[in-house]
């Protein structure tokens, strides 16, 4: 019933508006070919996909003052800051979004995090966590981020030299960085401690990984036995090697939500709204989960998901671990410069 | 004078794959001689010179300098120096550094080098140019610097690989004389290779005429010119009229022949292998042929010819005649007296030459 209704709504939108080209700036796996083909067939719009990551999305949009793309998918914590700084997005017209398709709690949390000057800039799409990917046969001792510095895994661990590492280590060290977001001095103090810890750990690190494929390669070959990574990475590796899996760290996995946001100078807004409403339908959301490996904010979207993935999810996340997920709050402008300097110093340390 | 020769080759050969460039050549060059190796391109003379310099190893035979075998001595240790075809002056060094190059290699101290360089430059008439760059010199001056660069080491033998080839005619004529003078001045043994017979004739004490990897004849310029021992030498050294004829009778040295055109010739046998009925090459130098207005009465070879062409070239003028009897073409050097300046194309004139000037070689 609902499906028929939304299909009718989409068709109505499609025929009312002219066919447009949707230039989508997104992550790998978020716009699988079968979903695009279905969307194009139903609406008449065409979709061009550019794969990217948070930093590059912002850099690309900043270079064009928010032009060149019609829909972007940054994480919800990386919207308010860059928007205040560079003005690269435009507010969403919530009337054009079928909010009934979203899980209400996630929708309202994202709205809250991405509201600037009273306007909402993003709605949630896909969520997931980052934590630890561990080869349990070879690195059973790794239960938390700081365990990556243990002597028994020295030379066989890896992590990214990016802000999630700083945050994760801070929690594992018993600090609360998110609580210090509003207090720059307190936050600097936390980052300084984390920096010292990461410099100390550097000798035992194999290398700082940069891309998901690089990490999977390192884990598969056994050169790395424990690493900080996204949950999907661990689950995919689990398909090849049953010893490797995602472990929610004792101090809590870090929760992220990737969103939909409209670039300031996007031209195909109608197509963008059509895409949002299209992919949030439960059966489409299940297709995307199959491709990306992560669950969506679609109400009922997990119903059609592959049982194997669900099983892996449940193994990694008992209820206590879910409750312990640290959701990224919006990053205040300016903190990233502080973190950047710390990361540079860690990179330079011997 | 039985002193050891500066350079001696004993049955020296060089083969490249299945091609034999130099075939069992033996020769000696006494101290202080200007020795030229004359031959057409491809005759093996460059290979021979490079073997003497040490850039190529003989396939067989021995090579001695001052009586000592140098087969195992690398070029940088041999007491020979070479002036290259394009001189090979080092463009990255000034003249003084070029000339002093070999002294520096021997570790002579700086002030001595400076002194010796200046001295040798003065001897070639280029004092005071040591600090200038090579490119500031004229072609002839470069030549002298190249020689000075070799002579500063006082080598036993100086090799010269057609060094005049790149110069224009006038300078070449001038350099011939200058090279001869320099050789006399340094009193060093020169081995000079060239394809230009005039260079060889003017400068050399001894000339070896080389063809197809062997020496056809070795001798003084005069011997080669007046008494060539082979048809090749007779044709290659100096100019000559050449006829093909059949031997009719032979008595000791005196040969009677008949050319294809039917003219009977009297000549002297200059090489072996002549017999009645065999084909022979007959050579007569243009300056041996005399002209006269009326039929000459003396013995020898002669007849009447029609002027085909007058090649006026001052003292070296020639006239081309067509033998009325045989239809053969004969080049005649015009006497320098101006007696025959009135000869024009189509005119008739008598020609005549001595039996002794008619050199006959077996045709091989």
């Amino acid at each position: 019933m609902k499906i028929i209704l939304s299909t009718v709504a989409v068709l109505a939108l499609g025929t009312a508006a002219q066919a447009e080209t949707l230039r989508l700036l997104t992550w790998g796996g978020y716009a699988p070919d079968d979903v695009i083909a279905k969307f194009e067939a139903e609406t008449g719009h065409t979709v061009e996909v550019t794969k990217s990551n948070n930093e590059e999305m912002i850099a690309k949009l900043r270079a064009t003052n928010g032009g060149g793309f019609d829909l972007a998918q940054p994480s919800q914590d990386r919207i308010a800051g860059p928007q205040a700084e560079f003005g690269i997005y435009k507010p969403l017209d919530m009337a054009k979004i079928d909010t009934a398709l979203f899980i209400p709690s996630m929708l309202s949390a994202t709205e809250g995090n991405t509201t600037v000057d009273g306007a909402v800039y993003a709605v949630p799409h896909i969520w997931g966590t980052s934590g630890l990917v561990v080869n349990t046969a070879m690195a059973g001792s790794v239960k938390d981020y700081t365990d990556l510095c243990n002597a028994d895994v020295a030379g066989k661990v890896s992590y990214r030299l990016k802000r999630p590492t700083l945050i994760g280590f801070a929690y594992a060290m018993g600090l609360d960085p998110f609580a210090a977001y509003g207090d720059e001095a307190a936050y600097k103090d936390i980052i300084d401690q984390v920096e010292a810890k990461l410099v100390e750990c550097k000798a035992g690190v194999k290398t700082y990984w940069d891309g998901g494929d690089e990490l999977k390669n390192l884990m598969r070959s056994g050169e790395v036995v424990a690493s900080m990574a996204w949950d999907t990475g661990g689950w995919q590796l689990n398909d090849d090697n049953k010893d490797i899996t995602f472990v929610a760290p004792a101090s809590g996995a870090l929760g992220w939500i990737d969103t939909f946001a409209l670039p300031a100078r996007g031209r195909a807004d109608e197509a963008a709204y059509a895409w949002i409403n299209f992919v949030m339908q439960p059966e489409i959301a299940a297709m995307i989960t199959a491709s990306a490996g992560n669950f969506t904010a679609s109400q009922g979207g997990d119903a059609d998901v592959d049982e194997a993935l669900k099983a892996k999810y449940q193994a990694s996340f008992p209820q206590a671990a879910i409750d312990n997920i640290k959701w990224y709050p919006s990053v205040p402008a300016g903190l990233e410069a502080l973190e950047g300097a710390a990361l540079d110093r860690i990179n330079a340390a011997k | 004078m039985t002193s050891t020769p500066d350079l001696e080759a004993r049955e020296i050969s060089k083969s490249f794959d299945d091609f034999k460039a130099v075939k069992d050549i033996s020769f000696t060059v006494p101290q202080g001689t200007f020795f030229s190796i004359l031959g057409p391109s491809g005759c093996g003379k460059t290979t021979l010179l490079r073997m003497i310099a040490g850039f190529q190893k003989p396939t067989s035979g021995d090579l001695l300098i001052k009586g000592r075998s140098v087969l195992d001595v690398p070029p940088n240790k041999r007491q020979v120096s070479m002036v290259f075809q394009h001189l090979a002056l080092f463009p990255m060094m000034n003249i003084g550094a070029n000339v002093g190059f070999s002294l520096r290699q021997r570790g002579v101290n700086k002030s001595d080098i400076k002194q010796q360089v200046e001295h040798v430059l003065e001897r070639v008439g280029l004092g005071g140019v040591a600090d200038r760059s090579v490119s500031s010199l004229s072609g002839g001056q470069k030549q002298r610097v190249a020689i000075a660069r070799c002579m500063v080491l006082e080598p036993d033998v100086l090799l010269l690989d057609e060094p005049l080839g790149a110069l224009d005619l006038k300078l070449r004529e001038h350099m011939k004389i200058e090279l001869k003078q320099l050789q006399a001045e340094f009193n060093t043994t020169f081995v000079y290779i060239t394809h230009d017979q005039s260079e060889a004739l003017v400068m050399s004490d001894q000339i070896a005429v080389m063809n197809h990897g062997v020496f056809e004849q070795v001798g003084t310029p005069k011997e080669l010119y007046y008494a060539p021992q082979t048809a090749f030498v007779a044709g290659f050294v100096g100019e000559a009229n050449k006829f093909v004829a059949t031997v009719e009778s032979i008595a000791g040295n005196a040969v009677t022949l008949r050319t294809q055109g039917g003219r009977s010739l009297q000549g002297v046998a200059a090489g072996a292998g002549l017999a009645k009925g065999t084909k022979a090459h007959v050579f007569v130098r243009p300056e041996a042929v005399r002209l006269s207005r009326s039929a000459p009465q003396s013995a020898g070879n002669g007849g009447e010819g029609i002027v085909q062409n007058v090649l006026f070239n001052g003292a070296n003028s020639q006239v081309m005649l067509l033998d009325q009897l045989s239809g053969a073409e004969i080049n005649v050097a015009l006497p320098q007296t101006g007696e025959y300046r009135d000869l024009v194309k189509g005119g008739a004139v008598h020609f005549w030459w001595e039996t002794e000037q008619t050199r006959v070689y077996a045709r091989d």
Partner: protein
């Protein structure tokens, strides 16, 4: 008059593409970058004109040291490339002819038919702990455990030398080709040893090629991004990496632009000093190669 008018027109027509290229693709972006580099961020969307971004470079030893390390490693890779490339070039230019020469030259070119990324991954496959070299060493018994050869300065150096080799070999082969063989023979003939000939004749002759090869290789190494990052791993610290992270991950275009200009200025300075030390001029070098 019409003739000169026409030749003037031809002149400007020929000049136009060059000017267009210089102005739109080189001068304008640099001017833009320079203006950005002079903006000091004082608050959210508030900027002032100052040299503060440049001051950051000189006041923060981290950045300064990174540049020094990058320059030092680039010079080392240039010297290494020259030392390896010179004998190769000499062999190609002087000791081979005809088809062999073309073949050898092509073999130097082949690695450049694939992208730098693929070439670098090739090295990663060879050098990594579970890679080919490590496996061979264990197989022949020279190592009893896997050997990690990636993620250190030596790996970066290998990658840089490999990537730059062609740019050293091409100018060297060209200049060595133009060296008359008789100059070398004349040197031998005058009593010089092989080393003396190399030092006094071959190297002075090849100097323009050496200098232009070195400049290109130095600039390529200094400006390389992928090789140090991928092969250097956690020890990759490279100045271009700093610029990249300022632009892309820190959103700090102002500092990134200032770094870009400092890289341009300081590398030009190093090249200038190098030319002075080798007593070569850029004009002479360009004219002869």
């Amino acid at each position: 008059m019409p003739v000169t008018d026409r030749s003037k027109l031809t002149f400007y027509l020929l000049l136009a593409p060059l000017l267009l290229w210089l102005v739109t693709l080189i001068i304008l972006p640099h001017v833009g970058m320079f203006i950005v580099s002079l903006r000091e961020k004082v608050g959210v969307r508030e900027y002032e004109t100052s040299f503060a971004n440049y001051a950051v470079f000189f006041n923060e030893p981290l950045y300064w040291n990174t540049f020094a390390r990058t320059a030092y490693m680039s010079i080392a890779s240039t010297v290494l490339t020259l030392l390896i490339g010179f004998p190769i070039s000499y062999y190609i230019a002087k000791l081979t002819r005809g088809r062999t020469k073309t073949t050898l030259f092509l073999m130097c070119l082949i690695p450049f038919w694939v992208s730098e990324l693929v070439r670098t991954f090739g090295w990663m496959i060879l050098l990594r702990e579970t890679g080919v070299f490590s496996g061979v060493l264990q197989y022949v018994g020279l190592a009893d455990a896997p050997v990690e050869m990636l993620y250190n300065d030596a790996a970066i150096m290998v990658g840089l030398v490999y990537t730059s080799m062609l740019f050293m070999v091409v100018p060297l082969v060209t200049t060595l080709d133009s060296l008359d063989d008789s100059l070398i023979e004349a040197g031998y003939d005058l009593g010089a040893s092989g080393f003396a000939i190399l030092r006094e004749i071959v190297i002075p002759h090849a100097m323009p090629g050496i200098v232009s090869g070195c400049i290109v290789v130095f600039m390529l190494s200094l400006g390389n991004y992928l090789t140090p990052i991928l092969l250097g791993g956690k020890d990759s610290l490279w100045f271009t990496g700093l610029i990249y992270s300022q632009f892309i991950t820190r959103f700090n275009w102002e500092l990134g632009s200032a770094f870009g200009f400092l890289l341009l200025g300081l590398s030009s300075l190093i090249v200038f000093v190098g030319l002075k030390l080798s007593r070569q001029s850029l004009g002479k070098t360009m004219a002869q190669t």
